[in-house]
């Protein structure tokens, strides 16, 4: 196994009204390829901030941050954007699909940043939609889909570029129990059969149980680590 995420002594603070508010303090964490990690903790503990740092959409104040073998703290904004396009798949709480694009177009969108031909893009996008079981909704706009279906489109969009890591910030936070279960099953199978590395922030115990590593954040500090044996995750 190789480390995809290496974090050492990472700190991050925000300025608020002239005051410095520490959000993450001295975080050290390593994730291996194929890991499915759940980040838990109370509201405001810094879960999203940590996830954003790993995903390269926010910058730390100090510490080491290597993701997919790249020290992303040293990248310029344009390089970072390219790096994200190549290595990170995003799943958001509120799906964040482009409302003016169809399901198919939303999935194809990130592929336009690659060197794939139009035909290859089409193949990849169809395959990804197939994987989330939404081939029959390819021409539907987000407003014509349920929340669970939209999130499945978002998952297709996140995996279509074959990214090194998939980050998910409360992917079931806006869904009912049944839809949430569908999404979790989907993420589990992505991790199981496709060996995707997934980092997921969640408040939901059921969601956390899909992961095989659960980390807790408490006021910006990583506390305990629970590891479930793989067999259990697969059960």
């Amino acid at each position: 196994m190789t480390a995809v995420v290496e974090i050492e002594h990472l700190s991050k603070a925000y300025q608020r009204g002239g005051q410095v508010v520490p959000v993450l303090q001295d975080i050290t964490l390593t994730l291996q390829t194929g890991d499915f990690v759940a980040l838990m903790g109370p509201s405001g503990s810094g879960k999203s901030t940590l996830l954003n740092l790993i995903a390269g959409i926010d910058a730390p104040d100090s510490g080491l941050l290597r993701v997919a073998g790249v020290d992303i703290t040293g990248l310029r904004e344009s390089e970072l954007a390219q790096w994200r396009a190549e290595h990170v798949g995003f799943i958001f709480q509120f799906y964040n699909l482009m409302p003016v694009l169809t399901a198919y177009e939303n999935v194809e969108l990130p592929l336009t940043l690659t060197h794939l031909s139009r035909r290859q893009r089409c193949e990849h996008a169809r395959l990804a939609l197939d994987l989330v079981n939404l081939s029959d909704r390819a021409d539907h706009y987000p407003s014509q889909l349920s929340g669970g279906q939209q999130q499945r489109v978002a998952i297709a969009r996140a995996l279509v570029t074959d990214p090194t890591i998939i980050v998910a910030d409360e992917p079931t936070g806006d869904l009912d129990r049944v839809s949430a279960r569908e999404i979790l099953d989907l993420l589990e199978s992505l991790n199981d059969s496709l060996r995707r590395t997934i980092i997921m922030v969640t408040h939901d115990q059921a969601a956390a149980e899909c992961a095989h590593i659960v980390r807790h954040l408490e006021k910006g500090v990583l506390t305990d680590k629970i590891e479930y044996p793989r067999e259990r995750a697969q059960a």
Binding site: I57, D58, N96, M98, P99, L101, P110, L113
Partner: protein, 386 residues
């Protein structure tokens, strides 16, 4: 690239009513801008069309004071003068005051030789010369009043009392689009003979002399010679080129022109504010989408292009329509107020300026939102979107 255009096109139609109203506003603003600029041009049209090789001699005290007829012969003898003609403002009313058109009593043989831009068919010219009560009118007023050759045209005198009747003997057309086709010419002889009988004091006088030059470059020199000739005489003269003469009329109304010009720019400024507001509103609503695109790895310039593209798409489509509408709108105004603005032509400059103004509106309106969207980091973008 394909997605850039797809997103711009579909984003534009996301709020059809808002887009439609914005487009409507820009169309109206650009057309109004074009009409206002054309109005300014129309004001200067007389001066633009005037010849540099003609001088106008008038009474130094005031244009309303006449000059003695015998000055004509003296001017003809001055060095550099090629030909001399005379004209007298008639100021008759045709049926109603609002039917205004300029009327001049002229010496036809010399006058039309000096003004080749008034094109008259030879047989009509012959008929006019043979009829002392004859008149020649410009094509536009002939069409406006539905006159035909041979028609009696009554004019109620204001300077010269009584009702005067003229017979339309000829219709002139302009040699080019800048020629005023709303003038009306009658025989100065006819006017003078009548004056001799009813108002002998006013006889043998003309309003202005028109001087053709041998060499246009000598204009200032010849003007000086003419004025020197009549210095200290009963009626001193003021001689200037036809252009300067026309511009002195424009100068009287310069303040109005400045206002019109200011309003034309104000219209652009207002529509710029409207468009900027629309774009700010639009970009605000799409912060989440911009943040998402950035997270997915789309570069800053893609986001900027999305915003600027949408702004330019709306403004340019509307601006093109507005610029295209300037011509029919000007044609309408020209027809309706042809006697106030004999020349109401849309210049290419006006259309180009309207297009540039449109482009400017589009760019300025998008600048703020584009800058903001591209400098915000992804996490800031999501936080701002809530």
């Amino acid at each position: 690239m394909i997605y850039l255009f797809r997103l711009i096109a579909r984003n534009t139609l996301r709020h059809p009513l808002r887009t439609l109203l914005t487009v409507l506003g820009i169309v109206v603003a650009i057309t109004a801008f074009g009409l206002l600029r054309t109005t300014v041009d129309a004001w200067y049209a007389g001066a633009e069309a005037s010849s540099a090789s003609r001088l106008i001699v008038r009474n130094k005290n005031s244009l309303t004071f006449p000059l003695p007829l015998y000055y004509g012969a003296k001017i003809r003898g001055i060095e550099g003068v090629d030909s001399v003609s005379a004209a007298q403002w008639f100021a008759g009313i045709y049926v109603d005051k609002k039917n205004f058109f300029p009327q001049f009593a002229v010496d036809p043989r010399t006058y039309f030789a000096l003004y080749p831009e008034f094109v008259i068919p030879p047989e009509q010219m012959k008929a006019f010369l043979l009829d002392r009560r004859g008149a020649i009118a410009g094509r536009k007023i002939v069409e406006k009043f539905g006159w035909k050759l041979g028609d009696q045209i009554p004019l109620i005198g204001t300077i010269y009392p009584g009702t005067w009747s003229f017979v339309l003997r000829g219709v002139y057309t302009g040699a080019n689009s800048r020629t005023d086709e709303t003038q009306f010419f009658l025989h100065w002889d006819n006017l003078n003979e009548t004056l001799k009988k009813v108002a002998p004091d006013s006889a043998n006088q003309v309003g202005i002399f028109l001087v053709g030059l041998k060499n246009a470059r000598e204009a200032p020199l010849v003007a000086q010679r003419i004025d020197a000739q009549f210095r200290n005489s009963r009626a001193e003269t003021l001689t200037e080129t036809e252009k300067a003469f026309q511009l002195s009329f424009v100068a009287m109304t310069e303040a109005i022109l400045l206002v019109i010009q200011a309003v034309s720019f104000l219209v652009i400024a207002i529509i710029m504010a409207v468009m900027a507001n629309t774009m700010a509103m639009t970009a605000r609503e799409r912060r989440r989408e911009y943040a998402t695109l950035k997270a997915l790895g789309f570069p800053v310039r893609f986001i900027a292009a999305l915003i600027i593209g949408e702004s330019l798409f709306i403004t340019c489509a509307a601006g093109a329509l507005g610029a295209w509408l300037i011509h029919p709108a000007a044609a309408y105004v020209g027809r309706k107020y042809g006697t106030i603005f004999p020349i109401f032509n849309v210049s290419d400059d006006t259309v180009v300026m309207a297009m540039l103004a449109t482009l400017l509106v589009g760019l300025v309106a998008a600048a703020g939102p584009a800058l903001q969207a591209s400098t915000r980091t992804v996490s800031e973008g999501f936080r701002a979107a809530g």
